[in-house]
Symmetry: C2
Subunit: 163 residues, 2 copies
DNA sequence: TGTTTTCCTACAAGTTAAATAGGTTATTGT
DNA sequence: ACAATAACCTATTTAACTTGTAGGAAAACA
């Protein structure tokens, strides 16, 4: 309430807090990746309660539940109900690329909509001078996320290994 | 109004139109780039009325006015008022990289906030296993946008050159 | 003096991210 | 049997932002 008033005053003077959101990976994708890394760091086949992950990663349990639903439905993680239940990876850590996880949770990693399906193509496509810029950008993004696996992340962070 | 009702019904059933916005360049950045390319394609020193650019690019004049204000204040374009007035590039087309234009209009091209300034760093940084993924991603993005100039775009689109 | 064009400020609607909330179902240990 | 645990399901909320629209003022030229 107080915040709203302050925000409105700032807006009146065109002073925004300017938290830039463009070209950003959302919390959904970032949390999904941290969640998967967390699972990958446990013993293979061990059930991990989401509550523990939430505590370790300092992410709201309820929010994590929503995120892991997508991963479960995609067959990326397996779930067991009841006490001693929890989640575990369906495959080895080197099976999962960052791209797989981000695309599933973010929806798409194309920097512009016209590169998404075949149906978002605009009628200016033929004369679009900037299209090749976006194509190059998309390729660069794909090259990164499709060539890093959960195993790579764990290996890389071996120094800072927690627990 | 009709749309709102339909939207609410869809929302009730958790059916969203799911226009994914993540990792997207906004219209502001895209239009700014098209605007600059358009200016770069004119004769050097020639004043181009924004009205013409708006017509050619099929973008709202009023919206373009807001966008070019930023480019003008940054010294990227020069303006002349009155009839026969308009805008022109302050430098040669090979002076401007895509990165310069996008960073100015989008604000930042970092895929996560913690890579932005020095002040957005979170307290989990030391133990963040995924940080190096974002760093690689940012480097890949920068490598693309900082190595394409307006001159490159024009040269590349020479085939589809319009007018 | 009228027209053209930049320049300035305000505002609004739709949409989304980022959770919060509360409950139901399945499984296991006691 | 039953209590505890943990996954699963559905709805709701709120601030914030994108993507414009709108109306006019100031400057320059014919």
């Amino acid at each position: 309430m107080t915040y709203t008033i302050v925000y409105d005053i700032l807006k009146t003077y065109n002073i925004y807090m300017n938290r830039v959101v463009n070209l950003k990976i959302s919390t959904k994708g970032r949390y999904a990746l941290r969640l998967m890394v967390d699972l990958a760091q446990r013993k293979p086949g061990e059930n991990v309660a989401l509550k523990e992950v939430a505590a370790r990663q300092e992410i709201s349990l309820k929010y994590l539940e929503q995120i892991i639903t997508v991963l479960t439905k995609a067959g990326y993680v397996l779930s067991t109900r009841g006490s001693n239940g929890g989640y575990r990876l369906a495959h080895e850590p080197d099976y999962y690329t960052v791209g797989m996880i981000l695309r599933l949770t973010e929806g798409s990693l194309a920097p512009v909509a016209c590169l998404e399906g075949d149906e978002n193509t605009c009628d200016r496509r033929e004369q679009c001078a900037t299209l090749f810029v976006w194509e190059k950008l998309q390729k660069a993004i794909d090259d990164v996320v499709d060539n890093i696996t959960l195993a790579d992340i764990i290996a890389n962070s071996a120094d800072n290994y927690v627990i």
